[in-house]
């Protein structure tokens, strides 16, 4: 099992290497930091632009492979370069990573947790009211693109606040700037800001996970080993709880890594719409500015989290299913 997982890690590292290289080449080909500098008012001289580009390491007159070489040399030493505005990518990365990770983590945990529970419930109450209600709910949710969902939440909060006459629901930013007070005040403030974005990210996940868990549970309900459990003298409910739950989670692990991709994309939209200073909004800003170093940094973050999600899925699979553990 350890051998298998370490093999997966090695495979992941190789993928990461290729992914970073690819994203560097694509960013360099697609983005033009030169245009960004030339558009500045007053228009800087050609020499100034060249100088700025050279400082960034994104001078388009140098071959892209050479630029990548320089970039990766610094990257392995822990320096992701500078942004077009002269700041440190590392510093920006550090500021934003916590914001994004919090949103992704809460979204994933709430989404999978609630989704699995809801799916289980629906399967057990198959064709009855809870099942039908959940089916309608998940269909509706899955039919609303994340960005529309975020907009609806935002407008809803705005409308609610207007009706209430003061700010009840927070819908911009990740915290109230300049807030003073105890740790508890800060935590409450963060939680209040987190509610809507987290709901946006998690809701889609709840809907899709509940569909999968429902299907997986129904499969298990018809399985031979659940029948054996009943033949031993367990009631159907206890048989499902003791023998069905774990096996029904096994197929879900495969879905987890794909589901995370969807969730990640949703989080990018959500950050942008709710004005969260996270990786997603950084990416959007940087892409518009032609900031290659920042874009590559975000891609690196994306690749690492996606690979990590895949690895977590593998570990979960191996933990749940002894059949995939090779001795």
């Amino acid at each position: 099992m350890v051998g298998r997982l370490s093999k997966r890690l090695a495979h992941g590292a190789l993928l990461l290497l290729f992914a970073v290289f690819l994203s560097y080449v694509i960013s360099s080909a697609a983005l033009s930091p030169r245009a960004y500098f030339e558009d500045r008012q007053p228009r800087p001289s050609a020499a100034t632009v060249d100088h700025e580009l050279a400082l960034l390491g994104t001078d388009d007159r140098t071959p892209v492979l050479e630029r990548f070489g320089h970039w990766s040399w610094r990257a392995v030493h822990g320096d992701l370069g500078r942004t077009v505005d002269g700041g440190s990518v590392n510093a920006e990365f550090g500021r934003r990573i916590g914001v994004s990770t919090r949103l992704l983590l809460v979204g994933t945990l709430v989404g999978t947790g609630l989704g699995v529970l809801a799916g289980l419930w629906a399967a057990v109450r198959r064709h009855r009211l809870p099942d039908r209600a959940l089916t309608v709910f998940s269909f509706l949710v899955l039919s609303v693109p994340t960005f529309v969902l975020a907009l609806l939440f935002k407008e809803g909060a705005l409308w609610f606040n207007q009706s209430a006459g003061h700010t009840v629901i927070r819908y911009t930013g990740e915290r109230t700037p300049g807030l003073t007070g105890s740790l508890a005040t800060h935590l409450k403030d963060r939680a209040a800001h987190l509610a809507l974005p987290a709901a946006t990210v998690a809701l889609g996940a709840v809907a899709s996970y509940s569909r999968y868990q429902r299907g997986a549970t129904l499969d298990v309900l018809g399985s031979d080993h659940l029948r054996t459990a009943q033949a031993k003298g367990l009631t159907p409910g206890r048989a499902l709880l003791r023998h069905g739950l774990r096996t029904s989670l096994i197929p879900l692990t495969t879905f987890f890594s794909f589901g995370f991709l969807t969730l990640f994309t949703g989080a990018v939209f959500t950050e942008e719409i709710f004005g969260w200073p996270g990786m997603g909004s950084w990416f959007m800003d940087s892409a518009q500015k032609g900031d290659i170093n920042s874009v590559v940094a975000v891609n690196l973050f994306a690749a690492v989290t996606v690979l990590l999600a895949g690895f977590v899925a593998d570990v979960l699979h191996a933990v749940l299913d002894p059949r995939v553990r090779t001795r």
Partner: protein, 699 residues
């Protein structure tokens, strides 16, 4: 029989929800009773309603099934009992052994824990987990599992089929039940392992004093294990009798035909396939459901469903019982042609010598530049065999012995890892493209599951024509040949327009055979072609294969695990064990005086469909498990299970060090074996006396 009734079933009906909302009756008024300590064999072909009956007893039918009638367990009515009360009886008073132990165990829990759970469910208060685990190990030991502590800590997928099934039996008897229901407990197992499992089941039953309902399609198993037998057909019990009476004097034409279509190990006999097939659920009646296939049927048979009648506990649901008296199966049903063995004089068509094949270990694939030599399993370690024109050679052995791998190596028409494959004089390792194409046409294969081997989306005509297209045969020739092929395998020409799913299992195998014969092959490879079929259908296919031989059809290499079938169809037999050829020769010689200890054990494990003979014969129960593919070994691979080796003194070193070579070499086709200490023609092992211990007959 004076023992008390423990289970009483009356007028049991089961129906499943059909696709068009009309319920499909699968069990129609079944009644029987079981007394303490009694074994009732419930026998019948696919779709007869055996499994549904068994599941209905425990209330384990899938949701949507409707049950009516009465099942009384020790006086308690089970039909309609609330789930909670039923759960208290299941596993404690009535337990079940399922057909497929791999699927029936929870894949993610240790075997020992699953057995321990069966104990603790019914304990008030529950005993400590450790205590229950200890009892689980005792139970495993009780069913003859070697190293019970290790087995208890294993997951189901880590065990062989035989061990899993014995663990399932241990779980069933955990609470000393009064009734054990075993649904086809050995149908997925090799004959040698089947013998172990049947022993375990019998011992478990003796230890608990429970009554056993043994559901099986295998008349041999029933003959050896049952006290009484109930024969099911189309959802009803059509005949029930003490085992000897049923086999000796069946009173229902169906039973007679069924008995007549079972191939026997002890003689090549004319088989009597029963024409037609059983009615689909819901379409039986109004009269006797067997009447459409019955040669004795009269107007009275078609008028109404006959009730069981008879005397001395021998009841048959047949109004023509008297007309049946004294008749043999061959008097009623069209018997197949007798087997004419060809003289071993043909020219060699296929020659395999020293063939080896290895597979990479699972998990060692993926990105890898060098493959370490240790990470392979040997599936074939040295196969020698020969097929001559016009003859049928059977390749036998347990699962994992490499039979199918051998066929696949032959059909691949490529260069083997080592050894040679020669077909019609061509060495397959040095084939030119043109020769390869020609050989593709002259070697065809027929596999076990005809449904799976026919593309369900194609018409029969296209299926049969596919190899002809691949051989670039002109369209007009194909159009002419397809109907001729269909006729030859006993199908209608109109069948060409239908699709595989519209046919029964036996007919599908006929389609597959027509396809294989389309390009007029010289060599036909058959991989368990009849083992997925019911006996009455199997007999028809065997008959067809025999007739093809007589028409100077292709030479056949016939892979099977069923030695009784070998007796009916083959000229010569090749026995494989652990990827090696251990014995070969004419069927009569090898079956009559087997030389290799393994062949002897294999032959003795086959149950006879004859209660008296089955009780009388000596049975060698092989210890241990059949070896899977393994690492390269030195010496004889069989020695771990070999009675001769166990009894040897210093001489056993030879078995450990030297890989036995084929001895008794004479002219090709003669009886040979690869054993250092083979048995002689009188059944006495060379240089060994006394006779190795043979287990006494089980019953």
């Amino acid at each position: 029989m004076t023992a008390a009734k423990v289970l009483d079933v009356e007028d049991l009906h089961v129906s499943y929800a059909g696709s068009s909302r009309t319920p499909l009756p699968v069990v129609r008024g079944v009644g029987f009773s079981l007394r303490r300590g009694e074994v009732l064999g419930l026998v019948g072909e696919s779709g007869a309603g055996k499994t549904a009956t068994a599941l209905a007893l425990l209330g384990l039918l899938p949701p949507g099934a409707r049950v009516s009638g009465s099942v009384r367990l020790l006086g308690t009515e089970l039909v309609g009992l609330p789930v909670r009360d039923l759960a208290r009886l299941r596993g404690r008073r009535i337990a079940m052994v399922f057909q497929d132990p791999l699927a029936a165990f929870n894949p993610a829990q240790h075997i020992g824990d699953q057995i321990a759970e069966a104990l603790r469910i019914h304990q008030r208060p529950q005993s400590a987990r450790e205590l229950a685990r200890g009892r689980a190990r005792e139970l495993l030991e009780g069913v003859g599992v070697p190293d019970p502590s290790r087995i208890a800590r294993s997951y189901p997928h880590e065990l062989s089929g035989g061990l899993r099934q014995r663990a399932m039996i241990a779980m069933a008897i955990a609470n000393d039940p009064d009734v054990i229901v075993a649904d086809e407990p050995t149908s997925a197992l090799d004959a040698t392992v089947q013998a172990q499992v049947l022993d375990a089941l019998e011992n478990a039953r003796r230890a608990t004093g429970a009554a056993l309902l043994l559901v099986s399609h295998d008349l041999g198993v029933i003959a050896g294990a049952a006290d009484r037998v109930a024969v099911m057909y189309a959802g009803r019990i059509v005949e029930t009798a003490p085992v000897d009476a049923l086999f000796a004097r069946p009173r229902m034409p169906y039973t007679l035909g069924l008995l007549g279509s079972v191939p026997r190990l002890d003689a090549a006999v004319a088989l009597t396939p029963i024409p037609g097939g059983p009615p689909a659920p819901g379409s039986a009646g109004p009269g006797c459901s067997f009447a459409p296939r019955c040669p004795l049927a009269t107007e009275a048979c078609r008028a109404g469903e006959p009730e069981p009648a008879g005397s001395e506990g021998h009841l048959a649901a047949c109004v023509r019982q008297d007309a049946l008296a004294g008749r043999a199966a061959a008097d009623l049903f069209p018997a197949s042609a007798p087997l004419r063995r060809t003289s071993p004089g043909g020219a060699p068509l296929l020659r395999v010598a020293g063939l080896t094949k290895s597979f990479p270990l699972p998990g060692s694939s993926g990105f890898r530049l060098r493959r370490k030599p240790a990470e392979v399993r040997l599936a074939l370690e040295g196969v020698d065999l020969e097929v001559r024109r016009g003859e049928t050679v059977a390749l036998v052995g347990e699962s994992g012995s490499g039979k199918t791998s051998t066929l696949m190596e032959i059909i691949a028409l490529g260069a083997p890892e080592s050894g040679t494959v020669e077909i019609a004089g061509y060495d397959t390792s040095v084939l030119s493209r043109a020769d390869a194409r020609r050989l593709r046409g002259s070697v065809q294969i027929l596999v076990q599951d005809p449904m799976a081997s026919l593309d369900p989306r194609m018409r029969v005509a296209d299926i049969v024509a596919e190899p002809l297209h691949a051989q670039r045969v002109p369209k007009e020739t194909i159009a002419a040949r397809v109907p001729e092929l269909l006729r030859r395998v006993g199908l209608d020409v109109q069948d060409a327009e239908r699709r595989p799913h519209q046919f029964s299992g036996g007919q599908r195998q006929r389609i597959a055979l027509a396809r294989a014969l389309a390009v007029r092959p010289e060599l036909l490879l058959l991989d368990e072609p009849v083992s997925a079929l019911d006996v009455s259908v199997q007999a028809g296919i065997l008959d067809l294969l025999r007739r093809l031989r007589d028409e100077r059809g292709p030479a056949c290499l016939f892979v099977t695990h069923d030695l009784a079938v070998v007796r009916q169809i083959a000229d010569r037999v090749v026995v494989m064990y652990g990827g090696r050829t251990v014995e070969s020769g004419p069927v009569t010689d090898v079956f009559g005086s087997p030389r290799h200890p393994y062949t002897r054990a294999l032959l003795s494990a086959v149950p006879l469909p004859d209660p008296a003979a089955e009780r009388a014969r000596a049975r060698i129960v092989l210890p241990g498990e059949p070896p899977g593919a393994g690492e390269r070994s030195t010496g004889c691979r069989f020695r771990g299970r070999c009675a001769v080796y166990t009894a040897l003194g210093e001489e056993r070193r030879r078995c450990e060090r030297e890989t036995p070579a084929t001895n008794g070499a004479g002219p090709p086709g003669e009886h040979t074996s690869a054993c250092h200490f083979p048995y002689d023609a009188k059944g006495v092992p060379a240089r060994l006396r006394p006779e190795p211990e043979e287990h006494p007959p089980v019953r």
